[in-house]
């Protein structure tokens, strides 16, 4: 998941970006004023925007109004040092999804960020299931048929993103956009390598239980389908049971 952080206090931004990267493993882009923040957000590649209210050049409320004015549905979490119900009501009415008052708890910020991303993707529970596949977004663990599957952080993030996007063909470009921040050198073959490894690990889990090689047919044909030239998607049989 990729998060845009709009915060003008350098030290706070450093800490927040580090926490979001190290905790849930998000890709984080940082904008230091409202103008840059708005320009970044216009790309619509973010799964969450963390927006400070008091910003130079363009304040947080204006950024929010402009985004919502463009029908941008990206979840927005506001960071505010202002007290008072009026300010909060105004924020929520302007289209904010949640807010945190400074000084906030870093753990709470991460939890709220995860919840907002989840909600933004239409899932209510932190544990996502698709057929025999179970993804626990809190512990960042994956099970297939109850068997734990060991994944690298990047592999996990690819799977989580795919599980969040049922019935949709996710292009390599989209995966790149949502899993890496803009400091990353974009190479689609990096994605290909990770997806290949991910598919292998998920299939091996089935092999372990059945004790035999997977058939070319049936659901063991591969959890992740490759649509040539278009991208990837979770095997339709799995995503059919996407939500609990």
């Amino acid at each position: 998941m990729r998060v845009l952080l709009v915060e003008d206090e350098v030290r706070l931004a450093d800490n927040l970006a580090a926490a979001l990267r190290e905790g849930p493993g998000f890709a984080v882009d940082w904008a230091e004023d409202g103008q840059v923040g708005y320009e970044c957000a216009r790309n619509r590649v973010y799964d969450l925007i963390v927006l400070d209210l008091m910003l130079p050049k363009l304040d947080g409320l204006s950024v929010l109004r402009r985004l919502r004015g463009r029908q941008d549905p990206t979840p927005v979490l506001i960071l505010t040092a202002k007290d008072g119900a009026d300010s909060i009501i105004q924020l929520l009415n302007a289209g904010a999804d949640d807010y945190l008052a400074k000084p906030f708890d870093l753990g709470e910020l991460i939890a709220r960020a995860k919840a907002l991303i989840r909600r933004g993707k239409g899932a209510a529970h932190p544990t996502l299931t698709a057929g025999t596949l179970e993804v626990n977004t809190l512990e960042q663990t994956v099970r297939r048929d109850g068997i734990p599957v060991e994944l690298s952080p990047t592999e996990y993030r690819i799977l989580e993103y795919l599980v969040h996007r049922p019935r949709v063909i996710v292009s390599k470009r989209e995966l790149l956009e949502h899993l890496y921040d803009y400091n990353w050198e974009h190479h689609s073959n990096v994605i290909e390598a990770h997806v290949s490894n991910l598919r292998k690990k998920l299939d091996q889990a089935v092999v372990k239980t059945d004790g035999e090689l997977p058939d070319a047919s049936a659901e063991t044909a591969g959890v992740i389908e490759t649509m040539r030239g278009r991208g990837y998607r979770l095997a339709p049989e799995l995503e059919a049971e996407h939500s609990r």
Binding site: D8, D33, P103, F104
Partner: protein, 486 residues
């Protein structure tokens, strides 16, 4: 013990004053009318007495048939009111006639010959009596031209009717005045109440003003009424100044809260970040150092806010006369900041200092705070290998300090706000260099407290020039110690 005097309402005082004036004039009218009525009534009374005496005189006739006397009073022809009294004596002391209701009075011929009034009580009634010496020539037809006969007439009439008339008139005036007083009292109260209505409306409007609603729109009539116009203007100007200062305070509190909360949020997040995952000892050490740096920044913000609060509260109270030698302060500040300048590879250049002493009305501490704030500001905005020039010139009554840097300059849109508290022209730059947004606000507070002026001029891309003009400390205070306490 002296009780506090509660001032009465203006309306009450006006009513009492008007009624008192009315009462005084009523008393005056009564007294004057009494005098006038008495005078005019007694005048006509006296005319009447004369008339009666004349008719008595007419009744005195020749008495040819009388052996001894030759005049007599013919009372049968006399028609006088029954209450009146009279008597007529001849000069020889013979009584010619007398009214029936009276015993009479012995004639006194020593009295003045004509018209003498006196008072008398007869039968228990007050009388006004006229004594009249008359004469008549009788037997005109006889040879020798007739005989002159003198006699005295005493005529009196009761005065009670006159007094009754006088009293009646005076009573009429008194009662009239009193009625007028009773009617005008409430009338004045009502008129005053009506007349003061615009004042009450103005007060009601003014009382609606609160910190949440500064709206004060007096009716146009209040502005045009001569008595209300100054009050309206005063209220309006006080409110607008209060509103401005209140909004400024509120903005300051809000900005300060934001700064402090942000600084706390930085420290808190720095600490919590360490707990997000397991880290190596080196990582913990680096994290703790960052936390310490964040705490120092919070400390700096708090210290500067307190400095600003001290300067601004002192500005309103008379400060003790304090002076310092600005050239000496400049030398010390230069020495202090030399390390920072070397670190940033910026050259600090001081022009020639004036030969005379330049004492300014500031404490040495504030003077150096001012200089270091301005120099640090210039240092923060100077690129490496540039230089900062400082010039100090002295005129007859003031010192001018010019600090010129060759940094990136200030945006013309930003320039008017640089002295605002917590204002940061370019946050990414100033935050990175550790600015709190209070340095220039503190500098201005110090300069204004000393009665000076500070101006920042800037050419984007070429540099910024800060010009501070401070008045020289007055002669009488120059006896105080002037070397800064280093």
């Amino acid at each position: 013990m002296k009780l506090p005097i509660h001032p009465r309402s203006i309306a009450f005082r006006l009513i009492v004053a008007v009624l008192a004036v009315e009462l005084a004039s009523a008393v005056l009218v009564v007294v004057l009318s009494y005098g006038y009525e008495r005078h005019s009534h007694f005048r006509s009374f006296d005319v009447m007495l004369h008339g009666r005496v004349d008719s008595i005189l007419g009744a005195v006739q020749d008495a040819d048939d009388h052996p001894q006397d030759d005049v007599m009073l013919v009372q049968s022809d006399l028609h006088v009111p029954p209450d009146d009294i009279y008597q007529v004596y001849a000069a020889n002391g013979r009584l010619l006639g007398r009214s029936a209701n009276w015993q009479g009075l012995a004639p006194d011929f020593s009295a003045p010959p004509r018209g003498l009034y006196s008072r008398m009580i007869v039968n228990g009634r007050h009388y006004r009596v006229l004594l009249f010496n008359a004469s008549r020539i009788i037997d005109v037809a006889e040879p020798g031209g007739g005989k002159l006969r003198q006699f005295t007439i005493l005529y009196g009439a009761p005065t009670e009717y006159v007094w009754r008339a006088i009293n009646g008139a005076v009573k009429f005036y008194a009662v009239g005045s009193l009625l007028l007083l009773l009617v005008t009292g409430p009338l004045i109260a009502w008129l005053l109440h009506r007349g003061l209505l615009p004042l009450r409306q103005l007060a009601a409007l003014a009382s609606n003003v609160s910190v949440d609603s500064w709206q004060f729109s007096p009716p146009a009539s209040a502005r045009l009424t001569p008595e209300l116009a100054p009050l309206t203007q005063a209220i309006e100007s006080v409110l607008s100044r209060l509103e401005a200062s209140f909004l400024q305070q509120r903005a300051f509190v809000s900005d300060a809260a934001h700064e402090l909360k942000t600084a706390v949020a930085v420290i808190k997040s720095s600490l919590q970040l360490l707990g997000v995952k397991r880290r190596t000892a080196e990582e913990y050490k680096a994290g703790l150092e960052r936390c310490l740096a964040d705490s120092l920044r919070l400390e700096e913000i708090v210290a500067k806010m307190l400095t600003l609060a001290r300067l601004e509260s002192a500005a309103s109270s008379p400060c003790t006369p304090s002076i310092s030698e600005i050239a000496e302060c400049l030398r010390l500040t230069f020495t202090e900041l030399q390390t920072v300048a070397t670190l940033r590879q910026v050259l600090l250049v001081a022009g020639a200092l004036p030969a005379e002493e330049c004492t300014v009305p500031l404490t040495a501490e504030d003077c150096r705070l001012l200089l270091s704030n301005l120099l640090l500001n210039a240092l923060q905005h100077s690129p490496p290998a540039s230089k900062i020039e400082v010039r100090l010139t002295r005129s007859s009554d003031a010192v001018e300090l010019v600090i010129e840097d060759h940094g990136e300059g200030i945006d013309p849109q930003v320039l008017p706000h640089v002295f605002d508290r917590f204002y940061r022209g370019d946050p990414s730059r100033t935050r990175a260099t550790g600015g709190t947004g209070l340095g220039l606000a503190i500098a201005r507070a110090i300069v204004e407290r000393a009665g000076g002026a500070i101006v920042l001029a800037s050419q984007p891309g070429e540099g910024t020039t800060a010009t501070v003009r401070l008045p020289l400390a007055s002669e009488d205070s120059s006896s105080l110690p002037k070397s800064p306490s280093a």
